[in-house]
């Protein structure tokens, strides 16, 4: 039974670790499906983490932190839209600017307001989100199999974990079953046709970016007000890029992107577990190399050994209305 418990705890961490990736991938899906590249997920996640932590600390409520994080991320998405949709600036450059700006600004302000280390104050338990025990989880604990799955894997997560996995079918429904979703996808594939049909390409892209901002804020808040109890420098640690890689690997589809996120999460959970463990035949793998595994996996997945990814047709191109 010991192995089984090990597997359960591994799956439990997989779901937790994948959560910010799922939010980020869904956020990226909206932007990229509308034809706007979003490498800025990393910077926005960092901004959300910082704002959520500071907001929760000042207002004493993690929900206020989350709300402010949403405001911050939507503003950043609007900035990205202003530069790359309205002013037709280079989308990748705009994202790189947002990322570098946020790496600098979050840490600089944390240091200015809370002292040199660049950490925000540790949140008390009413200033952060806590793990939720689902109903009957304790009662079912001892039931074989069901108890293991329900009580040890599904129950006992932060609220964001549940929101993240619920968001996937909702995103799927919006993008593939509603007229908004149809327009969204059309704007990313063939903006001039959509324009001819009388739909405003610019406003569609701005709407997509707004949804993008809301979703990515959850990823950041999860990092700084749920899993951790404060913000620290560069705490997003490349997750924005991993999520984007998952999105590309998942061919810009919510379901496949989710699977890719879970794969990243699983690798990361495994990587934490492998540190310092002696493996048969190989011996102990140096910790630095184990930590590099998710990044190596990203490159391998992006190399498309599992099939070539085809991006939305109009991605990265500013739309220029003909007169």
């Amino acid at each position: 039974m010991d192995n089984l418990a090990d597997i359960a705890s591994l799956l439990n961490s997989t779901f937790r670790i994948s959560t910010p990736l799922v939010f980020a991938a869904m956020a990226g899906l909206f932007a990229e499906r509308s034809g706007v590249i979003d490498f800025g997920l990393e910077g926005k996640m960092l901004a959300a983490a910082f704002v959520a932590a500071v907001g929760s600390y000042f207002f004493g409520s993690p929900w206020m932190g989350l709300l402010l994080a949403i405001l911050a991320c939507v503003s950043l998405s609007m900035l990205h839209g202003f530069a790359s949709v309205t002013h037709k600036g280079d989308q990748v450059v705009s994202c790189v600017a947002i990322n570098i700006l946020m790496i600098g600004l979050t840490t600089a302000l944390a240091a200015a307001w809370f002292g040199q280390a660049g950490l925000t104050p540790t949140l008390t338990s009413d200033q952060r989100f806590l793990e939720i025990t689902l109903p009957f989880a304790d009662a079912l604990q001892d039931v074989p199999i069901i108890g293991l799955i329900y009580s040890d894997i599904i129950s006992g997560h932060y609220i964001f974990v549940y929101i993240a996995y619920l968001s996937v079918p909702i995103v799927f429904w919006i993008v593939f079953k509603t007229s908004f979703g149809l327009r969204l996808r059309a704007v990313g594939e063939n903006p001039s046709a959509v324009d001819t049909a009388g739909i405003n390409v610019f406003s569609m892209r701005y709407k997509a970016l707004m949804v993008n901002g809301v979703l990515i804020a959850f990823a950041g808040a999860h990092l700084s007000t749920a899993v951790n109890a404060n913000f620290f420098r560069e705490m997003s640690a490349g997750r924005g890029y991993l999520a984007l890689a998952a999105l590309i690997f998942g061919k810009w589809h919510p379901k496949t992107a989710l699977i890719a996120c879970l794969l990243f999460g699983f690798t990361d959970a495994l990587q934490i577990r492998l540190q310092g463990v002696e493996l048969p035949m190989i011996g102990t793998i140096p910790v630095q190399l184990i930590q590099a595994i998710p990044y190596i996996l990203t490159v391998v997945l992006l190399a498309g050994f599992v099939g070539k990814a085809i991006a939305p047709n109009a991605i990265g191109q500013p739309y220029i209305k003909e007169r």
Partner: protein, 372 residues
Amino acid sequence: MATAVDKTKVPWWVANLIVPLVNLLLALLVSGLFIFIAGENPLQAVRLIIYGSFGYIEGFAYTLYYTTNFVFTGLAFAVAFHCRLFNIGGEGQAYIGGLGVFLVAINLSFLPVPLVWLLATAGAVVFGAAWAYIPAYLQAKRGSHVVITTIMFNFIASSLMVFLLVDVIRDFKQMGPHTVALPKELWFPTFKELAHLFGVKIRYSPLNLSFLIAIAASFFVWFLIWKTKWGYEMRAVGHNTKAAIYAGISPHKNIIIAMLISGGLAGMLGINEILGVHHKIVAGFPAGYGFTGIAVALMGRNHPIGIFPAAFLFGILYQGGSEVTFDMPNITRYMFVAVQGVIILFSGALENLFRPQIESFFVNRINKEKMA
């Protein structure tokens, strides 16, 4: 919004001097606001920056030392950008380039010194280029986006180097994660020795021979991009891939060449840091210079003539910035990372924010003068 003017009627100095300067000014204004939010006086910060970078000879030498790094990483980003590639991996390529410098220098130290310098520089270029090769190959052959792969290679380079510095090439007699020092005769001559020749006494200066190599690299890049067939082909692929294919130019080949040269240039940061300053590999020595190269290149409009002053400006910001962090407890070096982000935003993504207005303003004025 002002209507766009006829591009051919816009004088070159408006498009390439006035507009970038206005953008830079906007970026600095926003940066000033950040310093204000952080609880310090922006004007006082400007004063400290100018004093720190120009006020005394050691400070000015430091400014030029930082400039050297930014010329290398700025040129690196620019070369790839001419082929429409975003090489965000300068940081990792510089790190691995430093490994190349060190391995060559330590193993071939018995050779004549100038030859070791030459080979170590070649080592920097080859290692940096090699680290750029896999992302380049994946972009060319598999369409894997070079932004993500180069970022991942930064993380991987960092893990790899820490592993090497902890377990393999560490100076095991010491505690810290760094290698043994190179023999003293291999160190690059510094500004301190030059100043002593002229009778000026300086305590220490990181400015070294690499500064001249950076100037040479700028000429090389200018020649490569604008005067050779390779450069022409790279620009053709960057400008319009389909037209380039039609003209018989291979995008695959040029993507790989551009990335190799870009990685090689980023790797050259290693000679400034290792032959010039640390004389050993120290964990984390690229310290963000690779990322700053992006801002430098975009501000310098990807031309060596623009990159050099842009690198100098960032040299001022870095050296003056360290003066600021010293005197203002609320400002850390991360504030200057944010400043870079703002500069990339205004001189890259938002470069057309006021361009139509500014250009039409000057064109109208010139027209009026002609009428009169």
